[in-house]
Symmetry: C2
Subunit: 335 residues, 2 copies
Amino acid sequence: MNRTLEQLLRNREAELRDRHGISFRITGIASRRLGWIADPTGLNVEHVENVERAPLRQAQGKLSRASGKSAPHATNVRTWLEAAQAHILFEASSLNVQSGQPGVDHIRAALEHGAHAITANKGPIVHAYRELRDLAVARGKRFLFESTVMDGVPIFSLFHEMPTIQLRGFHGILNSTTNVILSEMESGLSFEDSLKRAQSLGIAETDATHDIDAWDAAVKTAALITVLMDVPIRLDEIKREGIRNLNAEAVRAARKEGRPYKLVCRAKKTGSGVTASVRPEQIALTDPMSQIAGTSSYIYFETDIFPGLAITEENPGLYATAYGMLADFVRAVGP
Amino acid sequence: MNRTLEQLLRNREAELRDRHGISFRITGIASRRLGWIADPTGLNVEHVENVERAPLRQAQGKLSRASGKSAPHATNVRTWLEAAQAHILFEASSLNVQSGQPGVDHIRAALEHGAHAITANKGPIVHAYRELRDLAVARGKRFLFESTVMDGVPIFSLFHEMPTIQLRGFHGILNSTTNVILSEMESGLSFEDSLKRAQSLGIAETDATHDIDAWDAAVKTAALITVLMDVPIRLDEIKREGIRNLNAEAVRAARKEGRPYKLVCRAKKTGSGVTASVRPEQIALTDPMSQIAGTSSYIYFETDIFPGLAITEENPGLYATAYGMLADFVRAVGP
């Protein structure tokens, strides 16, 4: 449960109630800083967040005052879910490329507790999709992850709406940070200054290694392959090359000659499995990918029924990612 | 129930059964030529279709032989639905711009009979959406129409997957015939020869008035507004101008100067309602619409969460439209 999602939920509270018959109460918050906070009668997120900004010891005092009683602190995800009497877990831990943890454990715990699990973390899909999917089915709960690829654009749900369709391949631009960096390099900045600019815009994290070395795009590619092609693929099976070795002059020259660089994700079904890559490619101007600038993203699906079905997300708004979790929430508990 | 849909249903029969738990039997066929044919034990569509090609009197004899008994002929849609013991109606009557008939009557009859109604005809949406939607809800049945806009691309279902989202406007290219004609004019043909070519490719009908005068695109625009913005709009409220008065030279000059003509549908929410237009516009090359060629189509949605969300359908395959009805079938009766 992050702050943007909480704001969006409040903003849509009336509509969720009136149009979808859904009401909710936030009964647990957890973060590295705060630990596991739960109150089945409801938490005031703003209080808790304010408290989070203060030093931890002081924070706990404030929280107790705010709720007028001692705030129950759980010690791990399972006791926390119990204490919160959770029906839904919104999981937004950071990506661990190698293991998908702690996301996998959180989701497993939620499903075993009897809650729906909604995640914005793509690691668990790559590392434990089949286990978590089957566990969700066995418990009669939902495991949903629409915020993991292309912000909250309902890519996975779109395929749910296309029964019996065969996905043969796809390509696209799925990482904003590298796309912004490439755009900035084209307009004159060095790689380092482009990265700094992406960081100052709040697009790139302080440690942007995951983006620059194409881990983020590779994990998204693997997630799409795993779920939409139903072919489990390991990350090391995806040819991966980041943009670290592109110099700004080459990037500008490529744009000038009408074949700009983009970090392109590709997957193609083969007889026995899937081949996939994420790497900088020079793109013809007639290809819509050449026009995908800044934080926009793009995916082109090849299917048996629709030979080419493409989705473009232009300049996603502030709530685009949180929205995917809200939509998953409605999918999980709506009528 | 048209032949392409029947072929697609057969082609996907095993998957519908194994993955979606759906089995089916075709118990009724109706067309202007054949009248209302029903057999609750199942009809052999190929037989019936072969018969359709023969003169009518002979045809009935053949049909009786084929089924080994006198084929029950109903006299109208209601007795036909009864005789067929229909659970689903696939409605594919032609567009009547002024009234939406006979589609509206067929769908109303199906819902009142207690069947789900699936239509590829956009007329009923413009002329009777709210009535049919409410009737479907009252009867606990589905009224679905995913084949009406952009072939079978799940546009309406996509919005179903985006709860609480606000659609503020859209623009796009939604009519293939005029898009093919404009492409052919750009490559050197006259308007008349471009039209003939579109007809010989099986894209334009013999009477292409609906396409050329932008009725088809206007009805699609009205359908999107009616369903996705929940604002009922009359066709005469949409500014409509076809491509009949564009001459080939102007079309070629426009492409040459980098601002090609496209027949563009537009809608925008205003304070009190919606303004909408369908007319030829000159499009900048930086706009993806300029690249939409031949039978491809495109739509760009402006929403509160996703400022720009676009879908491109490139070169739809033979089964693209029928597929929308198959997907509606799964939506209606799947688990």
